[in-house]
């Protein structure tokens, strides 16, 4: 009988191997990508963090020199925004003096709420100072654009993620916003200083 002959030749191993490969019911990559993004993007963050820190330092010195040459009361926004931006850039929660990055609260929901609040605080500052900030130089502009793109990607992931899986995404979002704040803060300070100087300085001193 042909069946029996075929049967003698076909081993169980062959029969098992002939079973089709199975595919997961839902795409696992989306979840994985969201979890991996903070890890694989670290080199990029470091790449921009160093030049940003150097640029911030140079600008701070320039700003200091300019303000010393022209003592004048700072506008309202100048007394508020830099203070919050400074705390923002240091990763310090202005309200309670704790670092969001290092929150060790045992309650995940509380951590999540803190991260959301932090995120809102940073966004608010970025929004309020956007108009007043000086145009970003080329390299910083590219860095800012990349960070904004990443924030957009995180937002897409956040929209799809259940709340219990949202913690790493929110943490990543806050980190990105802090990077963006560090970039914008330098330019904001420069713009603020130049504006202050130009209000009373002769044109030749501004240029």
């Amino acid at each position: 009988m042909s069946d029996r002959n075929a049967g003698a030749e076909l081993s169980l191993a062959e029969a098992l191997r002939a079973l089709p490969l199975a595919a997961p019911p839902r795409d696992v990559w989306q979840t994985l990508a969201a979890e991996l993004a903070p890890q694989v993007r670290r080199p990029a963050r470091r790449r921009f963090a160093v030049p940003a820190a150097i640029a911030a330092g140079v600008l701070a010195i320039a700003a200091l020199l300019l303000t010393q040459t022209r003592e004048r009361p700072a506008p309202q926004i100048a007394t508020v925004a830099p203070a919050s931006a400074s705390s923002v850039a240091n990763g310090t929660n202005a309200a309670n003096g704790t670092s969001v990055r290092n929150v060790a609260a045992p309650d995940p929901e509380a951590q999540l709420t803190a991260l959301e609040s932090r995120s809102q605080q940073l966004e608010r500052w970025l929004s309020e100072t956007r108009a007043a900030a000086a145009p970003l130089p080329g390299q910083d502009l590219a860095a800012a654009a990349e960070i904004e793109d990443l924030i957009g990607l995180v937002d897409v992931e956040l929209a799809a993620a259940p709340r219990k899986d949202a913690m790493p995404l929110w943490r990543y979002r806050v980190n990105l916003l802090e990077d963006l704040t560090a970039l914008r803060y330098s330019n904001y300070r420069l713009a603020e200083t130049l504006t202050t100087a130009s209000n009373g300085a002769p044109p030749d001193r501004i240029n």
Partner: protein, 217 residues
């Protein structure tokens, strides 16, 4: 010579890019190995959701540890080991490694029924084996592990691995020779031959709907 589903060659350049942290390279690796990892986990656990979690956890580990990978072994073998460990860890957590794997041994006679059984019937019969027996069968017949390797992975003896293969094979033979009639569940049994009927259990249906043809990629 058995060829594992995992035996997929990857360009070294792709592995290097993944090591450098390039997410796009990670995704390409993931897409290549998604089905082999998921299938392995599904065979071990016989649980679609558990297999999905194993796929997730195993791939996360692969990406987190890819910097530790050295090219002295094939990448697929390294990745398979991680996937296998994840699946076995889950089995252990669920205490299914201690399941009663004492399957009755029946001497093989005549043509093996898997010759004429279709994939669905074989899938279902596999699902009815104890988790440990099913895993040993799969590791031995499909992934090509030797009995000493299986024994080491499971913390059992070589003779245990051998007996599981023999008993699992015999049990499969019985399961495939006799299937319940779906129209009359308590009615006469008949061979799972060419006129195979779809299984009535929801579990089997949920498993079969996950089976797809291999990816074109």
């Amino acid at each position: 010579m058995t060829t594992s589903f995992f035996e997929l060659e990857l360009p070294q350049e792709l592995i290097d890019r993944a090591k450098a942290g390039e997410l796009g390279a990670f995704e390409r690796i993931y897409r290549r190995f998604e089905r082999p990892v998921y299938t392995l986990a599904l065979r071990v656990l016989h649980d679609a959701e558990g297999a999905r979690e194993v796929l997730h956890d195993a791939m996360l580990k692969v990406f987190q540890r890819i910097g530790q990978y050295r090219s002295d072994a094939p990448f697929w073998a390294w990745l398979r080991q991680i996937a296998l460990n994840e699946a076995l860890m889950r089995l252990r957590r669920e205490r299914k490694l201690d399941d009663d794997a004492d399957v009755e041994y029946i001497a093989d006679e005549g043509a093996p029924p898997w010759v004429r059984a279709d994939a669905l019937a074989l899938e279902r019969a596999l699902g009815e084996l104890p988790a440990l027996t099913r895993s040993v069968l799969w590791f031995y017949h499909v992934e090509g592990y030797s009995h000493p390797e299986i024994a080491e992975m499971l913390g059992k003896t070589v003779s245990f691995s051998k007996s599981q293969v023999a008993r699992g094979t015999a049990r499969l033979r019985v399961l495939l020779e006799v299937v319940p009639d779906v129209d009359t569940p308590d009615g006469p049994h008949r061979p799972a031959g060419a006129q195979h009927e779809r299984p009535s259990s929801s579990n089997s249906e949920s498993m079969s709907c996950l089976i797809e043809t291999p990816a074109l990629s």
